[in-house]
């Protein structure tokens, strides 16, 4: 497997997000989808926002969570790819990665947490609020009007 040393950031201004009490809510304002992440997924999301390289994120997750290292690598890379496909994150053209050694050292003696494969929950139930009909009719001055006058 290729080691992903890329750094990413939120695809703003299209995407906004908030993490509260270990759960992340992510909204794509342009496409009308919203998402949630919890547990390890929310933690990975927060680490991405701190512009920590993916390879370092994998190390952090391996250090904190109890699972086979390959399972963790596959899960983190899978989530990152999904976030890219959903246009929620974009790569940052910045070679300086964050120093993660302090993050790992601070958790050195902590018990490992059981690892649950992170799942990006996607919701499309409000997409229709963004889907406007294209303008069909305009009056003689050039202003649109809706044909259905009785609404």
């Amino acid at each position: 497997m290729n080691i992903d040393t890329n750094i990413y950031q939120v695809n703003s201004p299209s995407v906004i997000n908030e993490t509260i009490e270990g759960e992340s809510v992510i909204i794509n304002l342009e496409l009308g989808f919203y998402y949630s992440l919890e547990g390890a997924g929310a933690e990975i999301w927060d680490l991405l926002l701190k512009q920590i390289p993916v390879s370092a994120i994998i190390d952090i997750v391996k250090h904190k969570y109890n699972a086979h290292p390959d399972e963790i690598s596959t899960s983190v890379n899978g989530l990152v790819n999904e976030l890219i496909e959903e246009k929620l994150i974009v790569p940052v053209d910045n070679e300086a990665g964050k120093n993660v050694s302090k993050i790992i050292e601070s958790d050195h003696n902590a018990l490992k947490i059981e690892f649950v494969t992170p799942k990006l929950h996607k919701f499309s139930d409000m997409q229709d609020l963004l889907l406007l009909d294209p303008i069909h009719e305009v009056d003689e001055a050039g202003w649109p009007y809706s044909k259905d006058e009785h609404k």
């Binding site: 908030e18 759960e23 809510v25 909204i27 919203y34 949630s36 305009v138 001055a141 202003w143």
Partner: protein, 357 residues
Amino acid sequence: MPESANDKKALQFFNQIHDLYRQAAQVAGGPLTYYYAIAGKNVCLSFAGPALVDYITPALSHLAAAPSDLPELTIYLWDSDSTNIRMRPPPWGRDAFSYHGEISEYNTGTIYTLFQQGEDTLNLLDTDRNIGIFWRRDAKTIPYYTVGAPLRSMFHWWMNKHGRQLLHAASVGTAHGAALIVGKGGSGKSTTAVACLDSDMIYIGDDYVLTAPEPAPHVFSLYNTAKLDGDHARRFAGIEPIIANKNRLDTEKAIAFIYQFYPRRIRAFLPLNAIIVPRVSKGKKAEYFRISKAEAIAALAPSTLFQLPRDREHSFQMMTSLVKQLPCYRLDLGCDISGIPAAVEAVLFDAGKQMPL
């Protein structure tokens, strides 16, 4: 900062439309002015003639205030049909309309320009001078949903600059505080709010309210409208007789102006004590459960943000700031709507125990 080309043309267009309003007001024999106290702000609506008055003012009637020499926001409203003042052609092509109707090159830091599709209204706001302009080709065919929630974009933009956030939410409460009821269309917000009219509870709003997270969370009434599917509205004994558009329920949702019939049940504002995410359920009775704040934000933010033009990031920040301060609940509504008010009161009682002293 130097004025950009877009700044100049946006301001020029605004001033041109303002001039047309003045002409319309002159033709109509002078403006008709109405004053309101909305979320603690003094707002003046200045109509060029009477044509739009009966379509715009009913939803705001509960907030009517004494005339003021110095309103904080003045909105000028006119239509071409009754005043014979034609709107000038748009200085942009059809391609300029973005989703939500924002005209990108005519939106700057202080000028907001929106053509609301479907509603067919032009909405302009100048936040430097605190004046807005609303135009429609005619008044007679204004959609029912605009009558129920008029000037929504204008209030969103201006209030957002003044620490208040427009939300797609309902709110009811007691004298001690209110619950904010959030969720997408069809989730049960209106059902919950309207069911509480059949009790002693206070009604703040049904579809849109204003909130402020600072200095302490508060909810402000904006529209006194209740809006429900026609068949569903008939389940509420207190609403069915006061539906304003009874003869058009085959194509419109039922609209009722609560203030006209229950003036003492409406309050201009209340402190906010809880957030409720309602859910239609088949159980016998209404039941509530604590949920995470993230779940509440997911119920509140998308349905509000996807409807709002501009300033969405700031709006989201205000929403999350609000949610972080309040306990959050899911309310399964059950089949017996008469049990909903007691369930909401139980939520508020439980929330009172959660709040810091």
